[in-house]
């Protein structure tokens, strides 16, 4: 027996809004990585311009959530879905900001000769991309197991971030005699380190999304806890 059809439709709408926001965010993230790897200025600008649409959805999600909380007095799983959705949308918004940050660094890097490819950076993009993908899928299926598996990838993300950092430090101290070229090399290395930091943050936000999904589906707050 299904009552409260109007309310349930509104909840479904909220969920669809979040999935839409997640899709746009994931696309921005993948394209930011691609722009960095292919040194694509036009693509970088598209990512920066596209952020507004993601921010707009975040505001819409906040408004709908507030309205449902105020007018429908949601309980139990409905209440958790609404609270969790607003939290997840704020994580997504930050992920999208990281994509913009990567695109901005890429615009700078495009002005200078490329660094030698960094393998650890490819690995870092792969693992954080997987973390984000798991986060979104775990929400779509409200699957707490998948949600909690994201944490396990976080160590790898941290490890590859450190490796990128080490590679670029080595590059900065070893390769160039003092002068203009060394300055440029230091600048592009620092910008690339910032990109690795952005990727690492995307992994952290994805882990948080997983924790929010676990909360929505089980009611247990797993933040800052070791196991579900």
């Amino acid at each position: 027996m299904e009552d409260r059809k109007h309310f349930i439709d509104e909840l479904e709408k909220l969920k669809m809004m979040l999935l839409n926001m997640a899709a746009l965010t994931q696309k921005a993230f993948i394209r930011a990585n691609q722009a960095y790897l292919t040194r694509d200025e036009a693509l970088s600008r598209e990512i920066i311009d596209g952020d507004r649409a993601i921010n707009d959805i975040e505001v819409q999600i906040d408004n709908l959530s507030l309205r449902l909380l105020a007018l429908e007095q949601p309980m139990a799983r409905d209440l958790r879905l609404i609270i969790g959705t607003t939290r997840i949308s704020s994580e997504l918004e930050r992920i999208a900001d990281q994509a913009v940050n990567i695109a901005e660094r890429t615009l700078f890097l495009c002005q200078h000769p490329p660094l030698a490819p960094i393998q650890a950076m490819d690995r870092l993009m792969e693992v954080t991309g997987n973390m984000l993908d798991h986060a979104i899928r775990s929400f779509a299926d409200l699957d707490p197991k998948k949600a909690m598996s994201i944490r396990e990838m976080d160590d790898a993300a941290d490890q590859w971030t450190m490796e990128v950092l080490q590679t670029l430090i080595d590059n900065m101290v070893q390769n160039f005699p003092a002068g203009e070229k060394r300055l440029i090399n230091t600048r592009r290395s620092v910008q690339t380190i910032i990109i690795s930091r952005c990727l690492e943050r995307v992994g952290d936000h994805s882990t948080n999304i997983g924790e929010h999904v676990a909360f929505i589906s089980t009611g247990i707050n797993v933040k800052h806890q070791k196991v579900l």
């Binding site: 027996m1 299904e2 009552d3 409260r4 309310f7 007095q73 949601p74 309980m75 139990a76 799983r77 409905d78 209440l79 958790r80 089980t218 009611g219 247990i220």
Partner: protein, 253 residues
């Protein structure tokens, strides 16, 4: 004071003639807590409430099986004095039902029935009860006016004062605010918070928000069975059973 049992029902069955309205109810109700009974119409929550002071005895053809203990004593034992039981376990109903008497006489009524004659004691107890029911300030200047001149919300608090005057241990409330406007409802809810310091309160309510606001423990009844009992916070944020979840999220009922 924490979690001392006041009432405990064990394997309680209740029949209206051939119809089993309650089936195998076992629950412990703690002292100085507010316990809310929720569930759709006909689920047995009011029947259960009325089992706790034997109000159902007034209905012909009923039968009770199992036990209900108040402070460890079986309230259905033949030796139990039902009048005394109902003094210890007071009741407030859905519709305010003041007697067509003065405000004072309404509150003094139970005391007089219990043989209190001393004028000073009567006055003290009436004033104390009206204070406890958060009504004193509103009626102190017209205590000898008819109770029927009070607003609905005031009448209901008067009925609460009347129930409190005989110093019960437990107050049963059967949808005490369902006939009241939001402001009067809020007064009753605030009052319930205050009263649990001195009384054990069991409330039947159709408003889940009200149950969530006023109670410490929530018990969910469905088709004569007690489905789930738990801390109100847990029941309304992560109930353990699907049936409870479906009811409190409005999926049925």
């Amino acid at each position: 004071m924490k979690n001392l049992p006041k009432f405990s029902a064990m394997n309680l069955d209740f029949f209206y003639g051939g119809f089993r309205a309650l089936e195998d109810i076992s629950i412990t109700i703690n002292k100085n807590q507010v316990t809310a009974l929720i569930g759709p119409s006909g689920c047995g929550k009011s029947t259960f409430l009325r089992c706790l002071n034997r109000m159902n005895d007034l209905i012909p053809g009923i039968r009770v099986e199992g036990t209900v203990q108040l402070d460890g004593e079986d309230i259905y034992a033949p030796s139990v004095d039902v009048v005394n039981l109902r003094r210890r376990v007071g009741m407030v109903f859905q519709k305010p039902n003041p007697f067509p008497k003065t405000i004072f006489e309404n509150v003094a009524y139970g005391l007089r029935v219990n043989g209190v004659k001393d004028k000073k004691s009567l006055q003290e107890q009436v004033e104390k009860s009206l204070h406890q029911a958060a009504l004193w300030d509103e009626v102190k200047d017209r205590i000898n006016n008819s109770a029927l001149g009070l607003s609905g919300g005031q009448q209901q608090r008067l009925c609460i004062a009347r129930a409190l005057a005989v110093e019960p241990d437990v107050v049963l409330m059967d949808e005490p605010a369902s006939a009241l406007d939001p402001i009067a409802t809020q007064k009753i809810e605030d009052l319930i918070h205050d009263l649990k310091k001195n009384f054990t309160i069991i409330i039947v309510t159709h408003s889940m928000q009200q149950a969530a606001r006023v109670s410490d423990i929530t018990a969910f009844f469905y088709m004569g069975k007690l489905i789930e009992t738990g801390d109100t916070e847990t029941v309304f944020t992560r109930p353990s059973l699907q049936q409870t979840e479906d009811y409190i999220t409005g999926r049925f009922g």
